[in-house]
Amino acid sequence: MKLNRRGFFQVMAAGTATALASQPAQASDQAQASNPNSIGMLVDTTECIGCRKCEFACDMANNLTGQPVKAFEDMKVYDRERRMSENAFTVVNRYANPEDSNRPIYVKSQCMHCLKPGCTSACLVGALRVGDNGAVVYDAWKCLGCRYCMVACPFQVPMYEYDDPLTPRVRKCEFCHTRLEEGKLPACAEMCPPMALTFGSREELLKLAHKKIESNPDRYIDHVYGEKEVGGTSWLYLASREFEKTGFLKLGEGAVPSLTEPIQHAIFKLGLPPLALYGLLGAMMWTYRNGDEYIDPGESEETDPSA
């Protein structure tokens, strides 16, 4: 897997050298990133106490399993690393803290709400889309269940209801967009007892994150995860330890659709390449109309009524 990531940069280098320059994709990346309405969440993993209240709040807000709060007080779940599922849009995991073994590091994970998401770019019917505030939301009614969004997400977030034969849904955190419309906070942020989760405008949160790092350089490493990863994400993380050691993926700065979208645009927005090919083939058909030595000119343009 490590080779993989390194390989990717080589590929990207080669990619930019190809005719399909990634210029348009970069331009639109920036347009997205500077959306002033873009909301965000800053997760300070050094503040998280691993209480799992966010998991409980999420479960309630999204009508997931409906388990009582007791079920979320079981700390034995930390013995092994868990992943999100179709019934859990957020999970907290525990990682060792080499500096203080009594204070392990807890990391909450959920959809990162990318600024330039793979999932929305992949979805062929727009069932997943980026809202005006930057939340990546899902409309089950449109969905075909093709699961291309799951292939496209660099964080492996969208989960699928494989057990449902009739109306399976893609499941993931939608940034509590219905609660936001009612003027409420996302459920997890509302319930979190310490100040581990800060909701706000992404721009402000970035400033806050850097200020925190500046004023507390011993407490934090100098890296805000999500600021640049895959073109930027709405969820941002602060940590005391390298992110790769606590379950985060090491990803580059290129947004995942930066190769596919320019190709699609070249084909669709202009429509020229297919038309040009059509014309070229038509011209060839005309040029070669006399064919090879086996052709009987009188016969070639006619339908044979016999048989």
Partner: protein
């Protein structure tokens, strides 16, 4: 249609032991499909949250589309656009395969889609999502499927004009249906070239886009296969497999209907394969060199072995064979070498969609379940059954007693 009709329905007993075997296999696939529709994908497949796509996508869809490429390479491009009319005997079988191939791709996809009843959504402009590669693939496949049906219509007309005998009460429609067929036949023969060119354009678009699908997962793909020119390689490999697939089928059909193989056209066509396959292989090797990805070739990993095997069995070996006159003139060796090319492209699609795809957090690697495997096998069996039925109903194959009818008739005339 442009080609003069030199085909007739195959006269051969339909019910053979082989046909019964195919029916059993197809029946199993139907049972699996019913099971999936009642109990869900998880009851039948090994798909999970990390591996959302399995062999139903890699084989039934991606390989199915690639192997149906004989339709646009042989039937449309070679014969109608470049007017290489000596290959006309191969046009109808290739067209039939493409039509059935794409139909079965659509059927396979229906079983794989979670909300198959929403399949029409991409056709609604309100839901169009032009950024999506899958959108383009879907649209092209739908339109192309219709183009293929239109291209097939003249064969239906030819079979039934003057021979419409509807049973019982429907008999009174014999005349109108006959007139309709005659009208269709006349109109289509004038505009068919428009559809033929459109078919080639659509094929080039979706054959390449199929390779573009995985470009959206740059962080998950193994560098041996992940390249910005993946769409181009998919197009080249589809072109490369088009002729071999047609040769492969023609030889199988000759065997199964006890005819003399059409070597007088297959041998020159095999020569063209060395060109198309050669171009594909050169592109693939050049890509490895330019991206410096060859460093992964011999690192002893599972992926490196899969890549080497794909290149050797699907590329170098058949290429070496086809370069030899002996192979090209021998039905059995030609069958063996084209089988290798066909399997090689299937191997490539499996490699790209399943082996190269390495999602993070995967608990275990994906391996297809028995249900997935038997469904795929059953679909292939069903396709062969329909093919066999179609060639006994419609004039697809050349008349059996004159294997090289075209040339003979030419000389007689």
């Amino acid at each position: 249609m442009h080609e003069p009709a030199r085909a007739e329905p195959a006269r051969k007993e339909f019910w053979t032991p082989g046909v019964y075997a195919l029916i059993v296999l197809a029946g199993i696939a139907v049972v699996i499909a019913i099971y999936r529709f009642v109990y869900g994908l998880s009851a039948v497949t090994n798909l999970d949250q990390e591996y959302p796509w399995g062999i139903w996508i890699a084989l039934d869809v991606a390989t199915g589309v690639a192997l149906a490429a004989g339709g646009f390479t042989t039937a449309a491009a070679l014969t109608h656009i470049f007017h290489r009319h000596r290959y006309e005997v191969l046009v109808r079988p290739a067209l039939l395969t493409a039509m059935l191939g794409y139909t079965f791709v659509a059927l396979g996809l229906t079983v794989d889609l979670g909300r198959y009843y929403n399949m029409w959504h991409p056709l609604m402009p309100s839901m169009w999502q032009g950024n999506s590669v899958l959108f383009e693939v879907g649209m092209c496949v739908v339109i192309y499927l219709n183009v293929l049906y239109i291209e097939f219509l003249p064969i239906v007309c030819e079979r039934f004009i003057g021979a419409v005998h509807l049973p019982g009460l429907l008999a009174r429609f014999n005349q109108p249906v006959d007139s309709l067929l005659r009208f269709l036949d006349r109109t289509l023969s004038r505009v068919m070239f428009l559809f033929i060119i459109a078919g080639v354009v659509l094929s080039c678009m979706h054959q390449s886009s199929l390779g573009g699908l995985l470009l959206i997962a740059p962080y998950k793909m193994h560098p041996l296969w992940y390249t910005p020119i993946l769409p181009f390689l998919f197009l080249l490999s589809a072109i490369a497999v088009g002729f071999p697939m047609v040769i492969f089928e023609s030889l199988l059909a000759s065997k199964s209907f006890g005819r003399k193989p059409e070597m007088h056209v297959l041998t020159p066509l095999a020569r063209l394969v060395t060109l198309t396959l050669g171009i594909y292989m050169i592109a693939k090797i050049a890509d490895l060199l330019i991206r410096d990805a060859y460093v992964y070739l011999f690192d002893g990993s599972f992926e490196s072995w899969m890549f080497l095997a794909e290149m050797f069995f699907g590329g170098f070996l058949p290429m070496g064979m086809l370069l030899s006159d002996k192979v090209r003139f021998s039905p059995n060796l030609l069958l063996a070498s084209t089988t290798l090319v066909v399997l090689g492209v299937a191997f490539n699609r499996i490699n790209v969609f399943l082996v190269a795809y390495q999602p993070p957090y995967a608990q275990k690697a994906y391996f297809p379940s028995l249900g997935e495997i038997f469904f795929t096998v059953g679909m292939i069996a069903a396709l062969m059954l329909v093919y066999r039925a179609a060639v006994t109903i419609f004039p697809i194959l050349p008349p059996g007693h004159k294997p090289s009818s075209r040339v003979l008739i030419k000389q007689e005339g």
